[in-house]
Amino acid sequence: MKAESFEKIVDHALADRQLQVALDRGTTRGVNARLLAMSETTDAQALRHQARLARERALNQLPELLEQLERNIIANGGHVLWARDAAELNQHVLTICRQHNVRRVVKGKSMVTEETALNHALEQEGIDVVESDLGEYIIQLAGETPSHIVFPMLHKTKEATAQLLHDKLGMPLTDQPEAMTRFVRGVMRQKYLQADLGISGVNFAIAETGTIATVENEGNNRLSISAPPVHVAVMGLEKVIATWEDYAVLVQLLARSATGQRMTVYNNLISGPRRPDEPDGPEAFYLIILDNGRSRILASEYAESLACIRCGACLNACPVYQNIGGHAYGWVYPGPIGSIITPLLRGPLTAPKLPYASSLCGACQAACPVEINIPDMLLKLRRDLVQAGDPSLGWRLGMKGWAVAFKSPMLYRLGGRIAGWLTRVLARGKGHLRWLPPPFNGWTAHRDFPAFGTPSFRERYLRRFKGQPHDSKKP
């Protein structure tokens, strides 16, 4: 993402009426559903804390758990492949496709494959890929990218979706989401039956039995991974958890936080390919585990960001996301968590605006089911950017000057007096200013600035209490 383009993208997003309607509907629904679902639990805070501990336990023994997961999956008859980066993951999938003579692929929802641009890699080899999640399918039809981790088409209104399905597939126009779903389901059934290979993401990988878990509401994921003869599951290496007990806590928090459900409609648990005594399921099962920068994050002070279970609650809760939507964040992971993991995965200078795209209001942290301190990490990323020399010379000099003035009571008072006098002159008796010079014109672009009160509190205090022994420390 080009740094200078962020402001432009934001301006476009703010001016896009359709997007604003979709964002308002989608995020409001998301927030309210989560609040209601969390309020049903006997002790939401305790549950969140339990979930946090489950994730911490996993991250603290990640290498051991990943090895245990691998051993158990192999024992169950599956294959495990490791990918250092995006290219390696895509290469693994292409190799599997060649081995099994694959022409058609059907996919369940997976953010990791967005991260590696897997669809593009498959299409370049002439392999047909279809997204089976309703939202992802519509995004694919539109030639767009997801704008939300859980609701990929949150940026589209149902009206725009109906128009798209009408234009691309000849669906009769309707404003009923149920009718659109039924229509797409008819299209999709054929795809499952024709597919040579199914790809899915992973919500949790349970090390103690070598089981991968996916959650979904449409049944598309289950069909994608059970109808075709080969199943490839892809996961970031942070997705592993230790035990089924941890799964029980995390899976319900994921549903409550993501969609406001107690449980999702489908909870798929896969421990390997079809066994001889089983009537259906794939003949071959592969799990590909992706690093792509995660082990580097694990070793850093940002390890906490790997606790994320991709529920999207921080996106819905964030007033910045609510206004600019997911595409403005420039890459696969949007919202507050995206502002952290995008620079961490791709390098801080690839997205130097993202850590600043937050008022640090803390709504993300309050919504997070695993209590990730997102504001704290945004602050650390800003510190890293300053240390890397990212801010302009003007800002750096300004901050140096600010520190010199604010650590000296005398300069602080003098500066306050001059600034106060200036604001009162510019306000011309109106009590506020409608214009400030750069760089402060950003303020007056949207709101007035007050003329400073006079005299200062300090002077008032001295007048009132002169000679009284309240002040024990002279400046």
């Binding site: 937050s358 803390g362 709504a363 510190r383 650590k407 409608r434 949207h446 300090r458 400046p475």
Partner: protein, 244 residues
Amino acid sequence: MAKRVAYFVTCIADTVFPEIGEAAFEVLARAGVTPEFPLGQTCCGQPAFNAGFTDEARQVAEHFVEVFAGYEAIVTPSGSCASMVKHYYPALFRGHPRQADALHIAARTYELTEYLVDVLGVRDLGVALPRPTRAAIHDACHGYRGLGIARQPRLLLSHVRNLTLVEMVGHDQCCGFGGLFAIKMSAISGAMLRDKLAAIQDADCDLVITGDASCMMHINGGLSRAGSPKRVVHIAQVLAGALK
């Protein structure tokens, strides 16, 4: 020997809104505490810290520690500044010669209403507004989510005569201030402000009360620009009986 309580007025309530600085001082006096006002005080360092300028923030924080070391309590009319000291000083001073003082200060810094209700046990300050008034609360982010301040202002305001508290949709939603965010990310901040102004417009209130002068400055700047008759006041102004 009387407990030594220090008053940290904050840079914004000292220089931009001295009437808030005065009101909060009054409120403490009404509650029976006459705090000391260390004259060397300036700022907690948050503007630089939030911009990522950790070294500059630490220099100003060092001065803060110098000024406020040794007090039993430090009370401030800002959840945001209190949160800066409580949450970030411990990390800012890790391994620093003044670490012990910084930790002591972090543990003893209180936001005004938190100090009144939780430490002093104050409920009723015996205040009445000049006329019947309906007011909504804007819960400022750092006080509300950072320090868990929600119950204290409501409890104190529930005892103010002539004041009826009304609920406002999005009372805990950020107004978009965020310090330098309002300047660096002006368009996003402006959009968040518009959402807040719409909520205030829709609320059945004459007045909005908040606990942070910075949010007040931001929202009032928006209300004034929009030509709205509604205004935000600081809770200290209400509790000091300073509203006309």
